[in-house]
């Protein structure tokens, strides 16, 4: 009995065992379910597949509604190597129209981690890229029979023209910095890299949508989570209309072939940029798709630096195109009056120093000085300004005053154009010279800034903007390339006028001077019969080589439609390249087309090129070394073949499938016919549309002409009124002029002493 009770106690052992087991398991449950939270996220990432739905990117149009950039769907054949099962390689190759050899090579390339660093066997890899829609529709049906192969649809950015590369910019994969800066992006997304694509990225990109899908262990999707209640639809990007005139741009790029430099044209009333040419340029169409890498590296290696937007980033001495700013400053500061005469004996001569000038009558007053681009006149002006201790307590103060005028007129700082990169140019200030000359400088040491030389640098955009401010009599809108945004507005900062702080009526003298320059001065070549063109040449001395050729102007004088800057590197005289190119551009814009004579001139300029490699010529004559051939990319790309070329060939040999070919052909013919019909219908539509638009434009032009006549009448009245005031003022100014003459007299005396 005693043994029995001992044995009965063993029930506690057995009961204890199960107690321990349950206790341990509950402890384990607690640690899994209550303490660790990893499992929740793991389960979610198992089951919820967040599929991003990409919005279509906005299109880009020119000011006339011509489509410049758009999206096209491209189809890629993808391969997931792990999922390939029982593949009949030969049959597959036939189905997509490649040879067995190509298949093997491509597969090898995909699996080679050196060529394809992101390779994994579970994620789809690119097998054949960029099928057209036609190829896709045929292959898609067949592909279902081959597990492991799939089609990926994606949007490719397409460019309608080879123009405007710098303004449009391009689109590429985001880099790590973009991803870190903006939560919107994840690796593999696309983002605008340059130009408008970059600066209007937020408008163009739209908003991504997301689908939350339920996915099982085999990756098969079982519908939407909560029947799509949590899904977010993508928002398409906004279309953008540029202020660029495609025809004007085309002419500009044509005229600049073979030359380096830039053309910027601005509509003065709105600040809208009508064309922005930077030469040499590149073809944005070659940056889409596979060619991108090679073309990009070629561009980057190019010594001529075609990737640089010279219109906004080039810093050039503005030369004589800068003189109007000086005239305006001197007038506003009462350094001169419009009737102030300065002597110029083939230049500005003082204390053994000379700034040369060409031969013209002397002494000379302001309008003629601008017209003949007299260096001496503006040197005297600056000399008197900087040495006037009655008005300015110190040289520093005078310099600062001067600098402030330049900045107000849009120099020395970025204007704020709506493109991602812009240069500042350079307007020196007193501090700058203090540092450079160690405090020991005077008016004479900096005298060349008055003729746009020396330390002064400006971008073609700033020079064109100067033209616009003169055209507007002292105010400007920040130049911008975007005319309108779909369901949006151009930033306010771009559509409000900024003032230069100089009385508008001083501008009349400068305009008169520039008009006179066209009629009888330095840029008679810019004269377009029927339009009052105002212009100013520039021949900027260039320490590195031949002088730069520049032109700044606007037209017509009474109602400016276009302000322009042409800058041709090493073009020597302003009149050689700058003036004729500027004239052609203005004519194109104002008339809408070129006259036959102008067309001939344009042809001539198109084929006139400047040799920028004289120095390098010798080096080039050495036999070029043979570059080691890169076979790498060739093998990757060779797998991409036109499917249809080989399609028929394979089928011929198989009697059974002859029928299939016929069907295929018929289908294709039908498709082609349909496409043709569609095209014809579209063409008809387009023509009608065009005719309608032309009529509209004609009507508008008629209206505009009437308006312009009215405005002209009003302006004449205004002018008469103003001339009365002017005469009054001139009398007052005479006193001052006499005084300044007296100062000259004094100085001459001093010099003689």
């Amino acid at each position: 009995m005693e043994k029995g009770t001992i044995l009965e106690n063993r029930k506690f052992v057995i009961g204890g065992i199960i107690l321990v087991v349950v206790a341990v398991y509950i402890w384990r449950l607690a640690s899994l379910q209550l303490i660790s939270s990893d499992y929740q996220t793991k389960a979610d990432s198992n089951a919820y597949y967040r599929s991003v739905v990409f919005p279509s990117r906005g299109n880009i149009y020119d000011r006339r509604g011509e489509r410049l950039v758009y999206n096209q769907t491209a189809f890629d054949i993808m391969v997931t190597t792990r999922e390939i099962k029982n593949l009949d390689t030969l049959e597959f190759c036939k189905a997509i129209g490649i040879t067995r050899d190509m298949f093997d090579k491509r597969m090898e390339a995909i699996k080679d981690r050196k060529l394809n660093p992101g390779y994994t066997s579970v994620r789809p890899q690119l097998f054949v890229g960029q099928l057209s829609e036609n190829e896709y529709s045929v292959i898609q049906e067949k592909l279902i029979r081959y597990p492991g192969f799939s089609i990926r649809k994606r949007a490719v950015r397409k460019y309608s023209t080879p123009l405007l590369a710098h303004v449009l910019g391009d689109v590429g994969e985001v880099n790590r910095e973009d991803v870190e800066k903006d939560d919107y992006y994840s690796p593999g997304d696309f983002i605008g890299i340059q130009g408008v694509e970059r600066s209007y990225e937020k408008e163009l990109r739209g908003e991504k949508g997301v689908q939350i899908l339920l996915r099982d262990a085999r990756g098969i999707v079982h519908g939407h989570y909560k029947d799509g209640a949590e899904d977010v639809m993508p928002k398409a990007g906004k279309d953008i209309t540029l202020s660029i005139d495609e025809k004007l741009q085309e002419l500009g790029e044509r005229l600049m072939t073979g030359k380096h430099g830039a053309i910027v044209a601005i509509e003065p009333k709105t600040g809208e940029i009508l064309c922005m040419v930077s030469a040499p340029s590149y073809d944005p169409r070659r940056l889409e798709g596979k060619e991108r890498g090679n073309y990009m590296s070629k561009l980057m290696k190019d010594k001529d630096n075609p990737l640089l937007n010279r219109a906004t980033l080039g810093a050039y001495p503005p030369g004589s195109t800068f003189k109007p700013t000086q005239a305006l400053t001197f007038l506003q500061e009462h350094v001169i009056t419009p009737n102030t005469y300065y002597p110029c004996q083939r230049g500005f001569r003082i204390k053994g120093m000379k700034v040369g000038c060409h031969t013209h009558q002397t002494p000379i007053e302001l309008i003629n000085a601008i017209s003949t681009s007299c260096n001496g006149y503006f040197c005297w002006g600056l000399y008197h300004m900087f040495n006037n201790r009655n008005q300015y307590k110190s040289l520093n103060e005078a310099m600062t005053k001067w600098k402030n005028y330049m900045v107000k007129m849009g120099f020395g700082y970025r204007l704020g154009i709506d493109l991602p990169s812009e240069g500042r140019g350079l307007i020196p200030n007193a501090q700058f010279y203090d540092d450079a000359y160690k405090g020991n400088w005077n008016a004479l040491s900096v005298i060349s800034i008055s003729i746009g030389q020396g330390e002064v640098l400006a971008t073609p955009l700033q020079i064109a903007n100067l033209g616009a401010t003169i055209a507007n009599r002292g105010k400007y809108k920040i130049p911008h390339v975007v005319h309108a945004i779909q369901n949006g507005q151009v930033a306010d900062s771009l559509t409000t006028f900024k003032s230069t702080g100089i009385s508008p009526f001083y501008y009349d003298y400068v305009r008169e001077g520039m008009r006179s320059a066209v009629l009888k001065g330095t840029c008679t070549g810019a004269n377009i019969p029927g339009f009052e063109v105002c212009g100013k040449t520039g021949t900027a001395q260039n320490p590195h080589g031949k002088d730069h050729s520049a032109f700044m102007g606007f037209a017509p004088m009474s109602n400016p439609q276009i302000a322009i800057c042409v800058y041709v590197e090493n073009g020597e005289w302003g009149a050689t390249y700058g003036v004729p190119i500027g004239a052609l551009m203005m004519e194109q814009y104002l008339r809408g087309s070129l006259s036959p004579a102008a067309e001939a001139l344009a042809d001539k300029f198109e084929h006139k090129s400047i040799n920028y490699n004289e120095k390098d010529e010798k080096k080039k004559q050495e036999p070029p070394k043979k570059k080691p051939q890169k076979a790498k990319n060739d093998t990757v790309d060779s797998a991409r073949i036109s499917v249809f070329h080989q399609f028929g060939y394979y089928r011929d040999s198989i009697a059974e499938t002859v029928k299939q070919i016929n069907e295929e052909k018929q289908k294709q013919q039908k498709l082609q016919k349909e496409a043709l019909d569609r095209k014809i219908a579209e063409e008809m539509k387009r023509k009608e549309e065009e005719a309608r638009q032309k009529a509209e434009i004609r009507q508008k032009a008629e209206l505009a002409r009437q308006k312009a006549a009215e405005i002209r009448r009003k302006e004449d009245e205004e002018k008469q009124r103003r001339q009365k005031i002017l005469k009054q003022r001139q009398k007052d100014a005479m006193d001052k002029a006499i005084k300044s003459d007296w100062i000259i007299h004094q100085m001459k005396k001093k010099l003689e002493e």
Binding site: I14, I18, V21, L32, N46, L214
Partner: protein, 488 residues
């Protein structure tokens, strides 16, 4: 005994156990319904899918259960031999003639259904074991009787292993607990425990080496454990304090000194010294056995010797195991990582349970189980569905309910007036313990993945009916004895 007890028997049934059973079965059915539910085709009740079939199985099980309850206890006892023989024949026949399913020959196809005799055979073993133990003069302290009892258990086990159904076969090891209750020495359980420890430690560390000394960590630890276990057994099983002290001081002392010397002074391979110490222990025990003629010394000596050679044997054993079983064991011991292979199942099961949190994702809302990330989700891995959808609350409640259920069964087994009843009761207890231990353990990643069902929950007619018969015979026995007691 009154033969009309059938009428009153339902009054004496242990309704608490009965209630537990019903709760398990109903809960199980709802869980199976959830586990086979598909998000994209929310079909309601349908007899062609698993939850529908399970409903049918539950019906059949209840009918069979009722019949079982109506049969008198003495029938079971009388025909214990017959049942045993019957199932042995069936098992052999299955092994020989059944079509191969998933690599094993353990399923008998009957029409469109399949039955697994191994699931039914358990109760016959329990019955026969009860009869055997009840024999006059039978004592589990006698070697011959132990062998007799073990034979009853190991015979079907062997056949089922030959059917290639290792999981179901191992369940029969649970009967060792019954033998323990009936007087088999606890040292036998300790031997098994020691063997498991050696195996786990040896396999886990057999590729780790102490630097400079070439000493295999697994080998060293197993040898040291053997010394400790042997010393402990000498102390507790033979109550020989003197010998134990000698072995502790001299044997383990030498080992300790040698190890310290090797670690801090001159590194050398000291494994052979440990082996010598172990062999010296064996020799000492044999010497004591001869001297005292106390047989236990021989047992312990044998244990010590086997312990010493175990490490070398376990490697050999592991290599003899089937490939997938070896990988499972190695993965469980953390030696191999195979996220997509053997480890995948357990890993996904852990994710399912872990993602349930405190209150779970809600009935029919589990993504892990619905989207078939968890394999065998309605059979062996059904506990995942409860863990994921019911969270900690329900999964812990299930364990506690089982704990209560098993304790109740132990209590009932102890109140049986006769040995066969008690043995049978403990058989039921042990089988449930084993199933719960292995099934929930493997889902929680604590025990190897051995494909055995969770009683009453896992989908499948064989296991449900098998467990029902097993349990209901015991309920009948208990009710009858209670009735007799009342009548007396």
């Amino acid at each position: 005994m009154p033969s009309n007890s059938g009428k009153n028997i339902f009054g004496s049934i242990d309704w608490i156990t009965m209630l537990c059973y019903l709760v398990f079965v109903v809960w199980g059915w709802f869980t199976i319904f959830s586990a086979t539910y598909k998000f994209d085709e929310p079909n309601l009740f349908n007899f062609s899918n698993n939850s529908g079939k399970q409903m049918m199985w539950i019906g059949i099980a209840l009918v069979i259960g009722t019949v079982v309850l109506l049969i008198e206890k003495r029938v079971y006892e009388m025909y214990a031999n017959f049942f045993y023989a019957f199932f042995i024949i069936i098992l052999i026949a299955t092994m020989l003639f059944a079509p191969e399913t998933k690599g094993s020959r353990s399923w008998i196809p009957i029409g469109s259904m399949k039955l697994q005799p191994a699931e039914f055979a358990k109760f016959s073993v329990a019955l026969l074991l009860g009869q055997a133990v009840n024999k006059l003069g039978f004592s589990l302290s006698k070697r011959a009787d132990i062998i007799k009892a073990l034979a009853i258990v190991l015979f079907p086990l062997g056949i089922i292993i030959m059917q290639n159904e290792t999981g179901s076969a191992l369940v029969y090891l649970a009967f060792l607990l019954v033998l323990y209750r009936e007087g088999m020495s606890g040292t036998v359980l300790f031997y098994i425990f020691a063997a498991v420890v050696y195996f786990v430690v040896g396999i886990r560390f057999n590729e780790d080496f102490i630097q400079q000394m070439d000493v295999c960590v697994g080998e060293m630890v197993v040898l040291l454990l053997a010394q400790i276990f042997t010393t402990g057994l000498t102390l507790f099983a033979c109550r020989d304090k003197v010998a134990a002290r000698w072995m502790a001081v001299v044997g383990m002392g030498i080992s300790l000194v040698v190890i310290l010397f090797a670690v801090f002074v001159i590194p050398f391979n000291f494994t052979w010294i440990l082996i010598l110490v172990n062999l010296a222990q064996v020799g000492y025990l044999v010497f004591l056995g001869i001297n005292t003629r106390f047989r236990r010394y021989y047992y312990i000596a044998t244990f010590a010797f086997l312990s010493t050679i175990f490490f070398y044997f376990s490697g050999f054993l592991l290599n003899r195991l089937g490939d997938h079983q070896r990988v499972r064991i190695e993965v469980l011991l953390g030696k191999k990582s195979d996220k997509s292979g053997a480890e995948y199942n357990v890993n996904q099961a852990l994710i399912a349970i872990g993602s349930g949190g405190f209150a779970g994702k809600g009935y029919l809302n589990g993504t892990q189980t619905k989207l078939s990330f968890v394999p065998e989700q309605e059979t062996d891995f059904i506990y995942c569905t409860i863990g994921e959808e019911g969270g900690f609350l329900q999964s812990a409640l299930l364990l506690l309910l089982f704990l209560f259920f098993i304790w109740r069964l132990i209590w009932m087994a102890e109140r049986q007036p006769d040995t066969p009843g008690r043995v049978y009761g403990y058989s039921v207890v042990s089988i449930f313990i084993f199933h719960l231990f292995i099934n929930v353990g493997m889902v929680l990643g604590l025990t190897p993945v051995i494909g055995i069902p969770l009683p009453f929950f896992s989908y499948g007619g064989s296991s449900l009916i098998g467990f029902t018969i097993l349990l209901f015979i015991f309920i009948r026995m208990d009710a009858e004895s209670k009735l007799n007691y009342k009548m007396q």
